[in-house]
Symmetry: C2
Subunit: 197 residues, 2 copies
DNA sequence: TATTATAGTGACCAATTGGTCACTTGTCAA
DNA sequence: TTGACAAGTGACCAATTGGTCACTATAATA
């Protein structure tokens, strides 16, 4: 089915807001990219700020769906190798998906200028992924794949370095393969380092 | 001695650029904060961009001095407790110093809009601190305070979570004590988790 | 067919903003 | 004393930008 103009505006707004920031985005360019006149935008949204807010609504809905329930947990791995593949797969997706890349950029660059972005940033960068991996590690400890420790602590200590390398990919795409090399060795290191005994 | 107007401009520019971004900063407000007329700014810098570039020059010089040589290494700790105190002290300073807070904000929010900021961000958030802790952990391994592992890997795995919590302090200052609680328990966890045998 | 709502256009407006310029002031040296 | 230079001022300019408005076109409906 066709995508409504209202949705197309939001999609293109994400691109511009992420690349140029809220202040740096101007409605003439947004309209031009959609082959619309600027005044047409106002048929769908009342103001620049209204577009911004609608975009944040959409993002909040996304995170509520993704982190709000326990439905989106990955399959619990039965071996360290399975964990390795699963984690790497999730990382690859998150690091390469254009929409998610833009979302990260927007959250990073606007986190100090907007209270809602601030909240979303904490959810995305700190609490969201950590919660998922807490569950995964709990399960792996029960299965004897990991030494028994505080799973939440372990999740942060796994998640944060990965996150730092993904930020590197966002910032300097030319260093993506280097970053992935390091992430792979990091995951291997992590698994042996926290292996039982 | 008195601070020159040229330097005062740069100091206040850091505040505005960090809080409002490059695009969001206007020269009238910058001038007003310095009790100057806008045209007076042009007696010291040729343009808004020139102020921006001078600020980046200063920051680059700072990082070159701080991370370029091995002079600024902390004292190598002789016990895990000493490490704990040293690390916590460095973190406290870095998390509370107003200038450094502003610098972090500027690096985060402008990293995708300026190539020089991009390079500085990688240096600040990834390579700089990791290099310092690599040296520290090397020394601690030799002294038998830590299990022998790849010190660079260990540095990233120590540094990244701390960094994530400092970002939380920047973003939501109201959660600073909560963040420090978590950092303290994280450092303790880290030390026991990587203790020899 | 006439009507009405929706989507879209282009001209226009007012505020903001980076930048320029002629002019003043104060200090220091010849 | 005077001339020169650095520092500062306020008025002004032009470009950008968010927003409005009268108008058109099209499609569905009463």
């Amino acid at each position: 089915m066709e995508q409504s103009t209202k949705d197309r505006i939001l999609d293109e707004a994400l691109v511009l807001f992420a690349e140029k920031g809220y202040k740096g985005t101007n409605l003439r360019e947004l309209a031009a990219r959609l082959s619309l006149s600027k005044s047409a935008l106002y048929k769908h949204y009342d103001s620049k700020e209204a577009i911004w807010n609608a975009l944040l609504d959409k993002m909040e809905a996304y995170y509520a769906a993704r982190f709000g329930s326990m439905d989106h947990l990955p399959q619990m791995p039965d071996s360290t190798e399975e964990f390795f593949q699963m984690a790497l797969g999730m990382i690859r997706f998150t690091a390469h998906d254009p929409q998610i890349i833009l979302t990260r950029k927007l959250l990073l660059t606007e986190q100090f200028h907007d209270a809602r972005v601030c909240k979303l940033a904490t959810k995305h960068f700190l609490e969201g992924t950590a919660r998922i991996y807490t569950k995964v590690f709990e399960s792996m400890m029960e299965k004897g794949l990991l030494k028994k420790e505080d799973p939440a602590m372990l999740a942060i200590s796994f998640t944060a370095p990965i996150s730092a390398f993904i930020h590197l990919c966002d910032r300097e795409p030319g260093r993506t393969t280097e970053a992935f090399d390091k992430m792979e060795t990091y995951i291997r290191y992590f698994l042996t380092s926290h292996a039982p005994q």
